[in-house]
Amino acid sequence: MTTTTATVRPGDPAPQVQPADGSLSTTELAAVRADFPLLERTVRGGQPLVYLDSAATSQKPQVVLDTEVDFYEQRNAAVHRGAHQLAEEATEAFEQARAAVAAFVGADEGEIVWQPGATAAINVVAYAFSNASLGRGGEAAERFRLAAGDEIVVTEAEHHANLVPWQELCARTGATLRWIPVADDGRLDLSGLDEIVTERTKVLAFGHVSNVTGAVAPVAALVAAARRVGALTVLDACQSVPNMPVDFHELGVDFAAFSGHKMLGPTGVGALYGRRELLEAMPPTLTGGSMVEVVTMESTTYAPPPQRFEAGTQMVAQAVGMGCAAQYLGELGMAGVARHETELAAEMLKIAEIPGVRVIGPLDTANRLAVVSFVVDGVHAHDVGQVLDDKGIAVRVGHHCAQPLHRRFGVAATARASASVYTTVEEVVAFREALAGVRAFFGAE
């Protein structure tokens, strides 16, 4: 691994990266890859690593690693307290990172709440509804109150993180869970939307991009349906934010969740986006230090957002790293990143031509990202993954935390290849070639 002097600060332009108007050129892609030390390592007996599991977690550029180390080496202190210089610098780095993430996703600074991850972020919203339903939050929290007869709508394509919290919220409040089905091509079936999203709907929660099919949800149509009935929208943006331009204000969603580690940032950090007026009206979930105004032995008043939802000591170094990752991607240009990944999706989808391979999800590249799940006739996904791994190709196998979607397609498990900004066409070709040999290895006819 190269050692770089740790002088990168949040706010600095990310080095070594050319802004790209079109897709990434070969030279630009080579420069991007050189930023990721892990991509240089070999696996399984000295073979080059072909990392096609970025939808699970992405690799990290050196600048993100350096930024995190630099924070610990030079600025480490508790934020938002302490009268010393280090505390000032730590707070500044923490808040600049928030600003960088906010700018990257089309939000105002006060609309980004640090969370340990996207799962935590979605749970913050679900538990806010829960607490409001118990009477917390006063009059302001009225629109977060649920009772029997109310409905929460999700989709059949959801990651468990955007399904289970809503099931649990229904169980706690008496509300009913409904869902938008998935069509045979892996896209949402909106034909019955008006019967599903009704005056009873209080929440419409959906994934921006499926982590299984790669399909991009029709956000405008869903937001319009929710607005017609006054329901709040919650967007799981984990797969979209790292791979395509995302602007929450433009999308018009009320809440969104995304994680740092899938967008070239550290683990242990993610963000909740909430429209300012909603965050202001929302009761807290985690309570304790740092999120309060006045505490007496009898009661407590709470800080305004975002601090209201950031109880306890925060993951400052990771947040600073996530800010750096947002800046890195921003400098690269997400339109170019998306075009690059569309090319990769097209290359990946050619696996559908291999005899015995069936893709679960759209076969065209319109409104879909380079996340391709598939099954191989006569060979279990786990065995497929093992044979690919033997050639240094890393894919994910299993249900990808989306059991209902797998059930919808009558399979228990799939293998999944997914790309990030650093993925090359050559890697996808190596994957296709290895996949073509899998059935022969197992003697499948």
Binding site: H380, D383, Q386, D390, G398, Q403, H406, A412, F442
Partner: protein, 159 residues
């Protein structure tokens, strides 16, 4: 032989294709027999097995039947286990279970004990699997189902 070929030994591929004991048999058992059933799931990959065991009054495994779906390692392992334990006394089943767990912890080295490996028979073919930490649980799924179904049958308490 590559590590991949060490893992997918021909005997494993054969058992995966033509499994022994697959297809659940009714639990209505003969006079004095004890029977139990267990359903085991590997939540990370969705592999599952439902296994039924029938134990004679003398404490011998009279029969094992199962249904399952999953990777070749998990399905072949249940199959190999079935042929190994049918007709075996419960004490021997417990010994084999211990040996197989030891084998799975051996990181590809095997048990280093020819007698022990002989008693595991075809199950020693899973030695290569123990080099892959993520796959060990696949090989152990059926053994967990057997242990649990024996416990549920009540046969362990009386033997």
């Amino acid at each position: 032989m590559s590590t991949l070929e060490q893992m997918y030994q021909q005997v494993i591929l054969d058992h995966a294709k033509r499994p022994v004991g697959r297809g659940l048999v009714d639990l209505a058992s003969a006079e004095g027999h004890r029977a139990g059933e267990s359903h085991q799931v590997n939540p990370t990959c969705g592999d599952e097995v439902t296994l039924r065991v029938d134990v004679t009054p003398e404490g011998t495994v009279a029969g094992v039947s199962w249904e399952g779906q999953g990777c070749s390692i998990s399905q072949a392992s249940v199959s190999v286990m079935t042929s190994l334990v049918e007709g075996a006394p419960l004490a021997e089943v417990a010994r084999l279970d211990g040996l197989f767990h030891d084998l799975m912890s051996s990181r590809g080295k095997g048990l280093g004990d020819d007698d022990a490996e002989d008693s595991l028979g075809d199950a020693t073919a899973f030695t290569g699997v123990s080099q892959y930490p993520a796959r060990i649980k696949c090989a152990l799924l059926g053994w967990a189902a057997l242990k649990d179904s024996l416990a549920r049958s009540g046969a362990l308490a009386t033997s």
